[in-house]
Symmetry: D5
Subunit: 132 residues, 10 copies
Amino acid sequence: MPRPELLETFPNPNAGRDYEIRMICPEFTSLCPLGGVESDAEELRALQGGAPDFGTIEVTYVPGERCLELKGLKLYLWSFRNDGIFYERAVNRILDDLVAACAPRWMEVVGDFNVRGGIKSVITARAGSRQG
Amino acid sequence: MPRPELLETFPNPNAGRDYEIRMICPEFTSLCPLGGVESDAEELRALQGGAPDFGTIEVTYVPGERCLELKGLKLYLWSFRNDGIFYERAVNRILDDLVAACAPRWMEVVGDFNVRGGIKSVITARAGSRQG
Amino acid sequence: MPRPELLETFPNPNAGRDYEIRMICPEFTSLCPLGGVESDAEELRALQGGAPDFGTIEVTYVPGERCLELKGLKLYLWSFRNDGIFYERAVNRILDDLVAACAPRWMEVVGDFNVRGGIKSVITARAGSRQG
Amino acid sequence: MPRPELLETFPNPNAGRDYEIRMICPEFTSLCPLGGVESDAEELRALQGGAPDFGTIEVTYVPGERCLELKGLKLYLWSFRNDGIFYERAVNRILDDLVAACAPRWMEVVGDFNVRGGIKSVITARAGSRQG
Amino acid sequence: MPRPELLETFPNPNAGRDYEIRMICPEFTSLCPLGGVESDAEELRALQGGAPDFGTIEVTYVPGERCLELKGLKLYLWSFRNDGIFYERAVNRILDDLVAACAPRWMEVVGDFNVRGGIKSVITARAGSRQG
Amino acid sequence: MPRPELLETFPNPNAGRDYEIRMICPEFTSLCPLGGVESDAEELRALQGGAPDFGTIEVTYVPGERCLELKGLKLYLWSFRNDGIFYERAVNRILDDLVAACAPRWMEVVGDFNVRGGIKSVITARAGSRQG
Amino acid sequence: MPRPELLETFPNPNAGRDYEIRMICPEFTSLCPLGGVESDAEELRALQGGAPDFGTIEVTYVPGERCLELKGLKLYLWSFRNDGIFYERAVNRILDDLVAACAPRWMEVVGDFNVRGGIKSVITARAGSRQG
Amino acid sequence: MPRPELLETFPNPNAGRDYEIRMICPEFTSLCPLGGVESDAEELRALQGGAPDFGTIEVTYVPGERCLELKGLKLYLWSFRNDGIFYERAVNRILDDLVAACAPRWMEVVGDFNVRGGIKSVITARAGSRQG
Amino acid sequence: MPRPELLETFPNPNAGRDYEIRMICPEFTSLCPLGGVESDAEELRALQGGAPDFGTIEVTYVPGERCLELKGLKLYLWSFRNDGIFYERAVNRILDDLVAACAPRWMEVVGDFNVRGGIKSVITARAGSRQG
Amino acid sequence: MPRPELLETFPNPNAGRDYEIRMICPEFTSLCPLGGVESDAEELRALQGGAPDFGTIEVTYVPGERCLELKGLKLYLWSFRNDGIFYERAVNRILDDLVAACAPRWMEVVGDFNVRGGIKSVITARAGSRQG
């Protein structure tokens, strides 16, 4: 299970101005919740939920009172590593967790996942509204 | 004939939020309905409808109550493999079939086809309306 | 002289929906109407109107009742091969001829021509109006 | 089964000189001989040998007395379309068939296949010897 | 621990000819054996050996009597997922395991790892000798 | 501490027209204010505030009465070299200092920083409003 | 001094339609008006105004009654070759001269100059208004 | 018919040193000698030998006593414009004509032709021998 | 002064095999030893040796008994940050220091430095000899 | 006339080791000695030798006792600015002048010139011999 409690925040140094922060995390990996690997190798235990998925998570937001701390975001994304989760659910879950952690004025999460079965998937979800 | 009954859907895990799903399928192939191959080789039987066409199909949509399942989309696109169909008709047909299968709030289908006769074709069709 | 009578059309298979067709033709060539080649070589007869020009013609349109047939477009563009014509006139002429042939709801023609005298030219003309 | 009898040749116009011909065919497709598609859809009959594979075949050779005709090569490569064949066998088979057809002084066939299961494969086979 | 017993092979379909097989695996991940993550989150248990590393493993070989089966290679590389191992050791280990599994005439393994601490690492090891 | 007094300006040669000036500075470096380098090497004294950060600063503005002089901007950006500062604060600080120096009609500062801990950051802040 | 009298125009062949002409001139060079080269070499006489600057000038416009002739534009841009001029002034000067020469409905001039002192500059100025 | 008499040469300014000259001509066009266009349009007369072919001709040589003049090479390549000729013959013919014109110590001609029937062709021929 | 004592090594895990390690460090910065910045700003003290230089250092080697530890290499390269040193001397110095630290069988150091005065410099030095 | 007396050198800091220095100068410009510009504009006086040529000069060498100083190389290349000279002669002249100035063990000069008349030219000349 993803652990949003790993997220940490710090006070926005310029809360009086709307500005944008983009964090691009090209090393996201989780497991496909379907088609568990058929193997009794102890080392593949973690994969029994399914084959590994890889992708890039891109978070863009206009901070409110608090900003996301980079190290906490890194640990939070690592916590999906051995978790079985669908793309759609992962992107919406990340958006919900990050919004809950830092209450941004606007936030967008894009999950750009590697080809599976000859098809590449990109999921984009947004919260809040944005001017300009 | 394309077989839309191969498409499968699953419940949208975040139906309360408008978000976007893009699926990029670079391995689409069908046959040109004109100019059948003149050959009596048994192996080219499937090509008698015409020369092979190749392209990328890119589907972007805002899901409603249901999402398209990746495996079903893959099988559905494979079902064009030995079918003779014009580009314009193929893209509109895919849009119609996918809309019928999952009733999205908005959907766009782009067919980006390889050069034929020195000319490259890109067809884009949309259904529904989209905010923002 | 360009020969618009080479253009052919077929009925729009989805006239009930506004969709977009883009055709990219990277092998356009005509002759510069200035500065004829000074040579009495019989083989350069065709060039006496001037030096060859090369470019890409990109046609994008929303079809009305009829679509442009690819083979006819190819032959039509070939008919500029030994013709002396300025860039501005060529692009506007192609737009006029294609609009006359298929009466689109909207059409754009872009001529992207190779460097001449250290300067690259791109001409864009449009007809009709477009939503969204 | 691939049909090498579709290959045609013409006399090398410069057999007195060693020169190189490279033909790049980015639209190769065959079927994976493993894991047939589980479906009773009549349209997927052709796929019962397995999922479609896609790749680029690049043939480079120094012709001997005869050159490969482009149209015949195209038809020959099309004849793999509904055939189940492994990558290694396909590349070696193409090399054998082309060598038998035109007896080149040297030939190389490279098959560069799309990602399957997160792994991309490139197979290279050569026949004859080459100077310089 | 990596599990080389997951590797599988099949008879080389053209053992009489030296040819080359290249398999590019852009989704390799393991753990850094240094600097374990300081966290008591149960979900990060697997990371206690250290932070995740990401890279591409490229295997090129001239097969002897047997070829590496793609699915087994994929499972074998997955077995590094939750293992702490240095880059140098990982690349040499993969080379040793693959050579033991299929006894190639020549083999090269390249590990191209993502930036860590502002430095990117690429490790290349080879076994056997190669002509031409 | 950054030294805005190094900035210099010159009269806008076309103050009667709104036009845009973009200055791209790919050689920005500062220090991370966290995790000072543990070393008693005298040469690393300057790094005791933390590890070096690298990035590109892109300033775009519509000048008012005065334009920023290039040499002063260069010296001002150099003055961050041995300073410990967070990304968010750096970008907002640069925007504030440049606005104070030249009173533009509109200004945007983008800081595009190199990967740290597997995550790339891009911060964008704007001041003033812009037409068209 | 730049010589706008070198500019020539011809009648717009389609003055009844708003269309766009873009001319990209990647071989612009002038001299920096600061920091004259300290040398008594006769050959560097022309550089005494300062070091050479290099850039690309991109002119985009919607013609009115007349179009800019390519050869005249080339000669006009060449006339900056041994002139000392600041970037901001050069771009605004070119815009003014071209507008005076052909009275376009709308025009944009972009000067994209090479890195100087580690900073790249792009200046954009526009005249007139544009629809769509 | 190509007209080699259009080629002109000038004395090699450094005949005492082996050095290399490469001339890249991306605007080569000729006609395919097969499949004449079926049309009675007078403007397509020139195409009755077949459809237009497009490609890049790259000439690299070590000059002997004389160098090829650029303008003559340009006119010579233009003389293929309305000629029907196969790729293999065109490249060997160009090599023969250029060698006859300037007697280089070594010369290579590469013809890199656009995709036809889904296949791209590159032909390379050389004359003379080269050190280092 | 650079501090080679910051370099650390670890035993080569495969000293019985010649293999290659490449480390690419795109964040190298030092100071130009010429043309000190004329400024009495305390913050620019570190720059009094001259303007900042930026570049990428790429180290490739075949390890002997010991390998270079990544963290030590990073600290060693950081120790050039406020040092005035010419490109040629920096690259040769790095090669000497690294060879002294780990006694490789072969090593190459490439310094690829950013444009200064319109000229880009790349310096390459090697030590030891290499097979194959 | 080019002024080689502007070149300056400094003692090679590592004359005991063969290493390589590459200097890439993308801002070379001279004049074509043919086809003077027909204009009586005083500002085009400098162009009466012909139209401007642009290119990149890339110098690679293994220094002997002395290295080329960057600033002198820059001034030397600037001295071609208003000089009419053919490509072949320019590259050989630069090689001769640089060899005379610094007596390298080996040197290569590449002149990569922009397209003229639809043809791009690259001239490469070398002096001395090189190992490895």
